[in-house]
Symmetry: C2
Subunit: 365 residues, 2 copies
């Protein structure tokens, strides 16, 4: 399945911070076909460092999408039945307007002039996109990690425009520990003299800081046990023939790869959006967010995920139940830590497939 990326252009978007972006572009891909009344549309929401390319083989890069195991003919999000949309988030660096986009006021990249963005801003742009595609109500919004935060925000911001919500390995607000790990990444970038307060385009990129930030991330995405199984204490020779642990080699490799595809300002902007995200505004109880709409929820978490622990998913489930919302919760056994939402295909497929079919049939009835 060869796919190409499209761009949707809009005159402007108003942001939670009070500022606006003019114009704004959303990069997106679609898989499958819409039905006559466009009631079979599913919006897939990517995690922190993801992009619009969720499925199929990119015509531009030749690479499979980040959730290709879950989206396609006969897969969890079955493109023979559903019209699947995936877009790059606002603030990103893969086609959608972000800090590396051209600032029309200067003709140069925004850099430090890019406004702070929120998860709700990301969702606002997604809603503009789905509306432009002629979709009045999404059959489902789903994503893991930060994708799950966006899915929850959809249910709160546009309760009448979503029929079902599948937040996976996610939370309605970051804990102090989650903020702390993000902050270390940001400080690693800020410590790189090449960062230059965010105005590094055209000069040297803060590659060293960004690589360190990514290494921290990778540790938090795996579990103690999955790292033991994958690396243990095995050693290998580094390029300079010195002895190193395989886990060190892996982290350096992944950190080095990341700087070729990700922008440091996007790292800071998006991680800030995650940290400031709190779906309960002004300290009100979580269940008060879920007073409107009739979307059904399927909430998933994983036993070994210590970055987004199951108790955070359970808080969401409790609040939904308190409002008598239709919600199912499953904690899946997995050894993969937070990465499980990308890797545990079998059980997720069985659960999601049935949930979507049932939701679709109810809507048709």
């Amino acid at each position: 399945m060869s796919v190409t990326m499209s761009l949707a252009r809009f005159d402007s978007i108003e942001l939670d911070c009070g500022r606006a972006l003019r114009p704004v572009v959303a990069a997106y891909e679609t898989y499958g076909e819409p039905n006559a009344d466009r009631s079979n549309a599913i919006l897939i929401l990517h995690a922190f460092s993801g992009d619009a390319h969720a499925a199929g083989i990119s015509a531009e890069t030749g690479k499979p999408g980040w959730w290709d195991s879950m989206i396609g003919p006969g897969k969890a999000f079955d493109t023979r039945r559903y019209f699947v949309i995936s877009s790059n988030v606002l603030g990103g660096c893969s086609g959608t307007t972000g800090p590396s986009s051209t600032n029309p006021a200067t003709g140069r990249p925004y850099g430090s002039a890019f406004p702070p963005i929120s998860i709700a801003d990301m969702v606002r742009l997604q809603q503009m996109l789905t509306e432009s595609l002629g979709i009045r109500r999404l059959l489902c919004v789903s994503g893991g990690s930060m994708g799950g935060m966006q899915a929850l925000q959809w249910a709160v911001s546009y309760p009448d425009q979503v029929a079902s919500v599948i937040p996976i390995a996610s939370t309605h607000r970051h804990s102090a520990q989650q903020i702390a790990f993000n902050e270390v990444g940001r400080q690693a970038i800020l410590a790189d003299p090449d960062f230059n307060h965010g105005d590094y385009y055209g000069g040297r990129y803060p590659e060293r800081g960004l690589a360190v930030a990514r290494m921290v991330g990778h540790i938090t995405y795996m579990s103690d046990d999955s790292m033991r199984q994958k690396f243990g204490r095995r050693r290998r020779k580094s390029r300079d023939q010195s002895d190193m642990f395989e886990v060190e080699s892996y982290l350096r490799y992944r950190g080095g790869k990341f700087v070729n595809r990700f922008d440091a300002n996007s790292y800071i902007a998006i991680s800030r959006a995650m940290d400031t995200f709190d779906i309960t505004e002004a300290g009100s109880p979580l269940e008060d967010c879920f007073g409107r709409g009739d979307a059904r929820f399927l909430v998933l978490s994983f036993t070994s995920d210590w970055l987004y622990p199951s108790y955070q998913s359970q808080e969401i489930v409790r609040a939904l139940r308190t409002r008598n919302r239709d919600v199912a919760y499953i904690e899946l056994e997995s050894n993969y830590g937070h990465d499980a939402f990308l890797l545990e295909v079998g059980e997720q497929t069985a659960l999601i497939k049935g949930f979507l079919e049932n939701t679709f049939q109810r809507l048709a009835a």
Copy 2:
């Protein structure tokens, strides 16, 4: 209790790497008095960033020792009964020979010329120190985290010179995850252009990289729950009046403080010593390490310590039991994560006090 630091000078020390340091200095403090036959000596072993100043008020700095809650008259390590010794580890930066010490070959700090060191090298210098103090057998060796690794190494390197061992929140070898967190810290330092391959003395210090490294450490020393209780999602104003989370402010503050007291080369050398530490040499079973000597063991770990999880302590206990060694193991309930060994004074005191008294009486009998 005002205490002063002493220096013990030795002509040389042979290292595991095959090189030697000539001369070598060990910085140490003592608390309490030795008895006639010097059979009441306890060696306290510090963790990664600790120093010789474990107890009392330093005459030099006016500050309390890092384990002052545990060492003193009537405390867990009761200085009315025992002669307590604490030294800075080899490779450190608080008086003992390390990368920032003068290299006699050049008259300048060692820097990149400092040889790689091991936990066994640290213990070798400690043994030279205790021997020079006229001690033939230590009543006890004890420490938390890296201090526990040294305590285990004592039991293996000098089985006839220790009567009891108390490793706390420790391990006999680092897991891939523990190595990974240390590696991120090292990479943050190496990414700092001021590091200059380790030869930064007399120039700008790699403060930014070292601060980031320390921030990662602090997250791993706390638990998810203790961070929630200490910081939650509370906010405060930063110096430039921008809004920040308290946990961000805390990490930046601790990172900034650390660079004033710790040396980046010591960070790298000591963290490497921890990562390469594996008390089972050449893949032999752990119990084979404990075939010699009759030291008694008290092994402690903490429920919320995810950096040095209880299963690592239990592996040690299992190996000791397999060799029919005298070992007691207690997993203490604590919310403090890895920091618990510094903070959970009450229960540790009760356990250690009784264990030491009993050991001392047995020796006297």
